[in-house]
Structures are given as C-alpha cells and as structure tokens.
C-alpha cells in the first residue's frame, strides 16, 4: 500500500507524487470562504524538471508520498558520462547522470560528501555542500589599479570550474566557494 498524505498533513518540504513526478512542496495555504468549501492551494517544485507550479486541492484530498530519500554519500569519481557515489554505510554505489546536478557537478572534488536524493532507488538529485574549498590551478597575475573590471579576474579551480576572484588571488591558493551562488567567499590557509 502506498503511503499517502492528506492536505492537513501538508507542510513545506514534504515530498509527494504530483502529475506522476516526485515533487517537493514549496508553499501550502489553507483557503476557505466563511460559508464555502475549503481548499488547499499549493506551490510545488517538480524534482525532475525543477519547474515550480501551482495547484488547488480539495481540503481532505490525499496525495501519494514520493519514495524519495535523502542520503549523505561520498563522491568517488566521474567517467565523463556518469558520476559515481558511495553510501558510506552500505558501501553500495550509485551512478548519477549530469541532469541530477543542475550545473553543480563542477564543484565536486573526489571524496567530498554530498546530499544525494534517491527516487525509487535511483539518483534524482545531487546537492554539493554549501561551501567547498578548492585550489586555484590557473589565474592571470593581478594588475594593481585596474578598477575597470571591478577589481576581479577569472581563476580556474582544480575541478575545472571558473570563478571570479579578487585581483590579489594567486595560483595554488585554496579558496572557499559558495556553491549556491558560485561565488568566491574567502582565501583558506592550508
């Protein structure tokens, strides 16, 4: 028997099946005119497509839970077409395709722990840590007084990702990066 949730159990973050796809509730609101029927208006993100949609349900309606599990896994390696993760508890390995990353694959360094969302046992989403520390492999020397570029330049990191960094950053330095914005945060002393 599938697990279901009634609208009164809805809360932000709940993972349910809508339109046949796993979705996460972003917002839910109880709507009821004084003498009228009650509805639950929801906003949800389709975890497959990333699209955010609205829907109105009758209050009391039930929705099937999505078999979605969040697990912390270790990134092992990439063979170019798939990224391989390991569950540190079961040692089981899971391949992820590029669609699971939403562009965040460029922050992954071997051994890093990521939050992996499994849907029916397969990798649906991979979220890297909010902050990663990566070494600069290449950046042009900073030219003092150059304010036309806003005092920043490009730096290529060990994973191949390119970020904007302040002019004083040099090759082989380690940087702290916010993976949610893709922005440089600080220098890290190793």
């Amino acid at each position: 028997m599938a697990i279901t949730y009634a609208t009164n159990e809805f809360r932000t973050g709940l993972k349910v099946l809508l339109d046949g796809d796993p979705c996460v509730l972003v917002r839910c609101e109880f709507v009821k005119p004084g003498k009228g029927q009650a509805f639950t208006r929801i906003q949800y993100r389709n975890l497959k497509t990333g699209r955010v949609l609205d829907k109105t349900l009758r209050s009391g309606d039930k929705v099937e839970a999505a078999d979605v599990v969040d697990t912390e896994m270790q990134f092992l390696y990439s063979d170019g077409s798939e990224w391989h993760f390991m569950d540190p508890n079961s040692y089981e390995q899971y391949p992820a395709r590029v669609e699971a990353f939403g562009g965040s694959e460029k922050w992954l360094q071997q051994g890093v722990h990521c939050n992996v969302t499994l849907y029916n046992g397969a990798v649906l989403l991979v979220s890297p840590p909010h902050f990663v520390e990566l070494q600069v492999v290449e950046t042009e020397p900073g030219i003092r007084g150059d304010t036309a570029t806003g005092g920043s330049k490009n730096a290529t990191l060990e994973t191949g990702a390119v970020v904007r960094v302040p002019l004083f950053i040099e090759a082989e330095e380690t940087l702290r990066i916010d993976t949610r914005t893709g922005e440089y945060v600080a220098r890290v002393k190793r």
Binding site: N8, E29, F30, V31, K32, P33, G34, K35, G36, Q37, A38, F39, D54, K55, T56, L57, R58, S59, G60, D61
Partner: protein
C-alpha cells in the same frame, strides 16, 4: 475587544453569553462542528442568539470563542474569537453601523458598497445570476478548481475567491452585498429580485472580516434550507446534521422578529488593523491538537 464591547453597549445592545456546548451540529455543509462531551462545540452563537431574539430580548450581542473543525491555516484557526450581534429592522441600518464601527475601532476609511453581481462581472466577465451552471462550472475548472464543483454555489464561491477577492485587497473596506440566491445561507431573498439574497460580507486588506444577513424569518423556508444542506452533505459523503429543534420551535412559536445580524472575526479584524499576514502575529496562543 473592550472598545468593540463599548461600541455595541453604547448603541443599546445587550451583551449575553450563550452555551459553547450543545446537542446539535451546525447545518452548513461546509462547517465541521467539533464533537465534545456527547454533543458539539458551537461554530457561532447564531442559533442561541436567535432563540433569545424570538423570546423578545431586543438587540443582543455575544463575543465568544467558536470552533470549526479542520480549519487550520495562516488565516484560520479551529478555535477563534467571534463577535456576533443582531439589531431590529432591515440590513441598511446594520451596514451603516458596521461602517461606523470600522472607522471607530480600526480607523478605516468609509467603506465602499459593491453588489456581488457587479464585482463578479467586472473581475470574471460573466453574470453570476444569469450564467448557466454548466458554464460557471467549466470556468471554475479552467481556473484550477479540482474536479467539477459540487453545484452552482460551489462554482461561484471558487471563482469569487480566486478572481474577485484579490481585487478587494487594497483600498477601503468593501461591503459585498446582494449575494446570489444559492449562497443565501440564512438570509432572506431580495424583495425586488429573487435571484439575490440580503447577505453581505466585509472585505478589508485581503481578509474576509464579517458576514451578515437580513435574517430569514419563515420557519418553512428554514426547514427547506436545512434539508438542502443535508442533501448536499449526503452527496459529499459528510454526516447529516440534525436541525436544531429548539431553533425551529422558536421560529414557529413566537417567531423571529424582523432583524439583521452579523458575525465578525475578531482576530481577523486585529490582523487587518495591524496589517498582519498571519494569525500567529496577532494571537498569543495557537494550540494544535494533532
């Protein structure tokens, strides 16, 4: 709350207390009475106040806690504070008084009065009184109603909430008057147009604040409307609600005098005054029971 009480007392209303617990559930198909101690908690003091009116009480009011099962959200609580009052005569006196009250208590600007059909036509583009039920149902579904609406009233309610209410969120309070007959509840039908009923609602700052009627007096029509609610309850798979025998007896015996009454959500009024987005910002206690 003290100022609301003073306002009503100064205008000759008598404050009364009514039982929160009684043997009968509310008849409305969309109100869920909370069971307690072999009976039900009231959803409003309406029927007790009407029994007092029939017994000759004159203008009365009650400020009480009321309970409506399943209503939990940013603007709803199962337990809430309701102020309900009744004065003699038709609705226009009550509307003027409500305008004074909002100015007095909430420093609200003068209210605008908008007949339901006019507001609906402007926002939805169809006449809620003349449009065929099928068309209203399809329109409601096109605007996101989950499955076909139960009936004409259900389609109207949904479209009003979805398309008309957002337009009432800014500006002065709006008194929406002359509701379509399927949404009459216990208001009398308009004398000049049987397609509308003498029911009004107050909207201000995006909140539905109050609901009032030129009260239906006819006991036969009361029975007919209670029976219709029960038919709808059966269709919707909800338990039937035994009509309040004491109310029916009062309507048949001494009879309800010509009067108009209104119920005001007190917590909602405070929200509107403080421009709060949720009840949590204005009430100290938000108990959850599951």
């Amino acid at each position: 709350m003290g100022r609301l009480r003073d306002f009503l007392v100064a205008r000759g209303y008598l404050e009364v207390e009514t039982p929160l617990l009684g043997p009968f559930p509310a008849p409305d198909r969309h109100l869920e009475s909370v069971p307690a101690a072999d009976g039900f908690l009231h959803t409003s003091p309406e029927f007790a106040l009407k029994r007092l009116l029939a017994a000759g009480s004159g203008p009365v009011f009650s400020i009480a806690r009321a309970f409506r099962g399943g209503e939990v959200g940013p603007r709803h609580g199962v337990e809430f504070t309701i102020a309900e009052w009744y004065r003699m005569g038709p609705l226009d006196g009550l509307l003027r008084e409500m305008d004074l009250l909002l100015g007095d208590l909430a420093a609200a600007p003068r209210a605008r009065v908008g007949p339901y059909a006019e507001l609906f036509r402007e926002a939805v583009g169809v006449d809620p009184l003349a449009a065929p039920a099928d068309m209203l149902r399809r329109l409601a579904e096109a605007h996101g109603h989950p499955g076909p609406p139960d009936d004409r009233g259900g389609a109207l309610d949904f479209l009003f909430t979805r398309l008309v209410e957002p337009g009432l969120a800014t500006g002065p309070p709006t008194f929406v008057t002359r509701f379509p007959a399927p949404l009459a509840a216990l208001a009398r039908f308009s004398e000049d147009d049987p397609r509308t009923a003498e029911r009004f609602e107050v909207f201000w700052r995006g909140l539905e604040l109050a609901n009032g009627y030129d009260e239906l007096q006819d006991p036969v029509e009361h029975r007919r409307r209670f029976a219709a609610e029960n038919e709808a309850r059966s269709r919707l798979g909800l338990p039937r609600a035994t009509p309040d025998a004491r109310l029916i007896a009062a309507l048949e015996g001494p009879g309800l005098p010509r009067c108009s009454g209104v119920a005001l959500g007190v917590d909602r009024l405070v929200m509107a005054v403080l421009r709060a987005g949720t009840l949590d910002e204005v009430v100290a206690f938000r108990e959850t029971t599951r």
